[in-house]
Amino acid sequence: MQPHLKRAFTLLAIAIIGFIAVRALIVPDSFGQNGWYRGDSVFELRNFPVKHAEPVSCGEEDCHKTIYSIWSSAGHKTVNCETCHGPSQEHVNNVRIMPPPANDSRDFCGLCHFKRAARPSGFPQIDPETHGENLKCAYCHNPHKPWFV
């Protein structure tokens, strides 16, 4: 091989070896341990903070036992505490941190109960124009233990 080509290929070889070396230094250690990805990322995602505690956290201690037992035996038992009261894991961890008050507007209840064509017909729905004289729903209905008037 001619000397100038030798030199060119030596340069190329140096570049390739340099690349391999840099690659070895930079690719994260956990890459490829479980598959073609950074193994550590699974743990990072698992450690993401939880924001919604489950209803048991509200009732299992003595904190909200009474309201929990009323709620858990009534018609709204499928509506979890945090669906109305907001994410409460912080409050569970530290009772001094209060979640914002529950939304008790007609529109909020209406998200489920205003008459809508696409809802399953058996689901309890009201016409907001004619029902309840624009009063707040909780005026007549206990949200923790709803009943039909």
Binding site: Q2, P3, H4, L5, R7, A8, R23, I26, W36
Partner: protein, 387 residues
């Protein structure tokens, strides 16, 4: 904003993800591949009439190749992580090959240029002083053998390299087509014809650009134009235009003929969203008009000036038409919702990371690079001897 949306699009589709920069990327790599293949018409297939532009075509390919990564990297959410594509390429992804294919091709082009300019480089190194001597000696890798035998061996090696170069140029660009063609989620992209369409339009745009740059440089240098070379390029442009339009029409016709689930939204895309850029610019101005003009050029006798004007007009139209083709693929594909029941509209922004301004800047850079390179490595030696 709402009025830009028709029907139902998935809520996450409100933003167009691949903007004008991603239109630019296949456009630029297409020009690279086209210019390289044009140069190999001489280097590999021995088409002597192309010789005047063969070296210039290589330099054009390099100038555009050097900026090919720019639109991609600029568009990334994390440009600093872009190198991961070379460190941990996920081989099931059509995109993962980019780093290696690009690097391999860059090496081939640089070697090819180096070998075909080596004689000039060595002569310049020996005949100049000061920083110029240092520059050219460095480029010669401080090895000054330009004996007849050495040059002959170089030429043989360069030919082998060009033979590798053609498939890698085809691969570099065909695979860009596969990046789109392999996306089953998008009915406008998903077709096995896509790599071929991209390749043909690449060759077409590359030859057209080469013609324009050749004419422009001859004008600038006040040199006579080699009409034989020009007509030969125009001839190849015409042939590849036919292949290109056949494939592009085949794609649309088979989509319409098969009329699968997505036909309604495809029809809406073609008749409403991209009607002008598809039928008007891509097919009409970009293919039909140049096709007719080049046909006339082929038939006409003498009248060189008129022919030259017609070839230049065709080339300008082809370069614009191929840009419209990239636009119709990249933007058009994103203007239909994957819910197949709605469309949205891309509104380009001027000043932003992914706006029109960076796109223009990126498109201007290769011309500056080309200007500089032709100063360092004048590709016209052969011609000056002739003139």
């Amino acid at each position: 904003m709402e009025s830009l949306i028709w029907g139902y699009i998935y809520p996450n589709e409100a933003e167009i993800q691949w903007s004008i920069l991603i239109v630019l990327y296949p456009y630029i790599t297409g020009l690279v591949a086209g210019a390289f293949i044009a140069s190999s018409l001489y280097h590999v297939f021995g088409k002597k009439e192309i010789k005047p532009v063969a070296r210039f075509a290589l330099l054009t390919a390099l100038s555009f190749l050097l900026v090919a990564t720019l639109p991609l990297v600029t568009h990334l959410g994390h440009p600093e992580r872009g190198i991961e594509i070379m460190f941990t390429p996920h081989l099931t992804s059509a995109m993962s090959g980019f780093g290696y294919i690009y690097s391999f091709y860059l090496i081939v082009v640089v070697l090819e240029i180096w070998l075909s300019f080596r004689e000039d480089i060595v002569k310049m190194a020996l005949n100049s002083r000061g920083w110029k001597e240092l520059l050219y000696s460095g480029l010669a890798l401080f090895s000054y053998d330009i004996s007849e035998k050495a040059l002959h061996d170089d030429e043989k090696f360069a030919k082998k390299l060009a033979i590798i170069g053609i498939p890698s140029a085809a691969f570099l660009h065909g695979y860009v087509g596969f990046i789109f063609g392999g996306i089953k989620a998008n009915p406008w992209w998903s077709t096995p014809l896509m790599p071929l369409i991209f390749l043909m339009s690449a060759i077409v745009s590359g030859i057209a650009l080469l013609i324009l740059l050749y004419l422009a440089s001859m004008k600038l240098r006040k040199h006579a134009i080699d009409h034989k070379c020009l007509h030969s390029l125009a001839h190849y442009l015409w042939i590849f235009l036919i292949l290109d339009v056949t494939l592009e029409l085949l794609e649309v016709i088979s989509m319409k003929y098969e009329s699968l689930e997505e036909i309604e939204i495809i029809n809406r895309l073609l008749s409403d969203k991209i009607a002008t850029t598809f039928y008007g610019v891509q097919l009409g101005l970009g293919i039909f008009v140049p096709f007719v003009l080049l046909l006339l050029v082929g038939i006409m006798k003498n009248r060189e000036t008129l022919k030259m004007i017609m070839i230049s007009i065709s080339s300008v139209l082809v370069v614009i038409g191929v840009f419209a083709m990239r636009w119709n693929v990249v933007i058009g594909g994103q203007e239909i919702s994957k819910s197949l029941s709605g469309t949205l509209t891309y509104v380009p922004v001027f000043f932003s990371q992914e706006g029109v301004l960076p796109a223009i800047i990126i498109l201007v850079i290769p011309f500056i690079i080309l200007f500089v390179i032709t100063r360092i490595l004048p590709p016209w030696k052969d011609m000056e001897e002739k003139v």
